[in-house]
């Protein structure tokens, strides 16, 4: 069972990190995108998921039964190579449906103090 007390928990990553061109280029190649001058819209999920794992640590989430239910992005500015980013993640909701447990987590990605991307994931722990 996921502890409902986790709703509202917010963790900001302790260190900023820098996006390198090689990571963007490899991601673009893997998804058939020819333009690697900016990161594609779903690129941020590659580091968001680690932040979510950290935020949900100790909450009773069984990762071995976890599947990705849905994903949503709002992109004010795309990520580029050389960007120094920080990420905060917040647990928005925990609920049960059809015998499964669903947790929705939001990521806020900042570049130099400006929020550039918000992303929401619903993770489903199969019952």
């Amino acid at each position: 069972m996921i502890d409902p007390a986790i709703v509202g928990k917010r963790i900001t990553s302790s260190t900023d990190f820098t996006v390198n061109q090689d990571a963007i280029t490899r991601f673009c190649q893997a998804i058939g995108e020819r333009d690697d001058s900016i990161a594609p819209p779903t690129f941020s999920f590659t580091f968001i998921i680690a932040a979510f794992e950290e935020t949900l640590k100790g909450s009773g989430v069984d990762w071995s039964r976890m599947v990705h239910g849905d994903q949503r992005f709002e992109i004010r500015e795309p990520i580029k190579a050389g960007d120094r980013l920080s990420i905060s993640s917040t647990v928005e909701s925990v609920r049960s449906a059809a015998g499964n447990e669903l947790v929705t987590v939001r990521a806020d990605i900042e570049r130099e103090g400006q929020e550039i991307i918000h992303a929401w994931s619903t993770l489903v722990v199969r019952g």
Partner: protein, 133 residues
């Protein structure tokens, strides 16, 4: 870019084979064995290896970016992962994308995206908001 409400975008099919899953696993860091190891996938009740949902969604992003003139135009993008895309060793999956323009307002178009693998819709409620010039 001249677009009309209700306009249907040309379809495009992406082929996902095992090497594509390996490339996406390496590029994304998602090395979950259900996306690469057939015996593991079957041991957890799947018919075979399945594609990363985020790979299917990302291909949808590529489809939209190509049509609308670049991925920087995509301002909102969301999808549900409704059915897994099964990728057998010798049978690459062919995922066909199509889209329809459901709103045009203040330089932003809304596209409802459909992704089909065979007769199954593999994304649900897939929608993007895209800036147009």
């Amino acid at each position: 870019m001249k677009l009309t409400l209700g306009e249907v975008l040309p379809t495009r099919t992406f082929t996902i084979d095992r090497s594509a899953l390996k490339a996406y696993a390496d590029a994304s860091g998602d090395q979950n064995p259900i996306h690469q190891d057939e015996s593991f996938a079957k041991s957890v009740g799947l018919p075979n290896v399945i594609a990363h949902g985020m790979l299917t969604m990302a291909l949808g992003g590529t489809y939209l970016a190509d049509f609308f003139g670049g991925s920087s135009k995509i301002r909102k993008f969301g999808a549900r992962f409704t059915k897994p895309v099964v990728v057998a060793e010798d049978v690459p999956a062919k995922v066909e994308f199509s889209g329809a323009i459901t709103a045009i307002e203040s330089g932003i178009v809304t596209v409802e995206l459909t992704a089909r693998h065979g007769d199954q819709k593999v994304l649900g409620m897939a929608k993007a908001e895209i800036t147009i010039d």
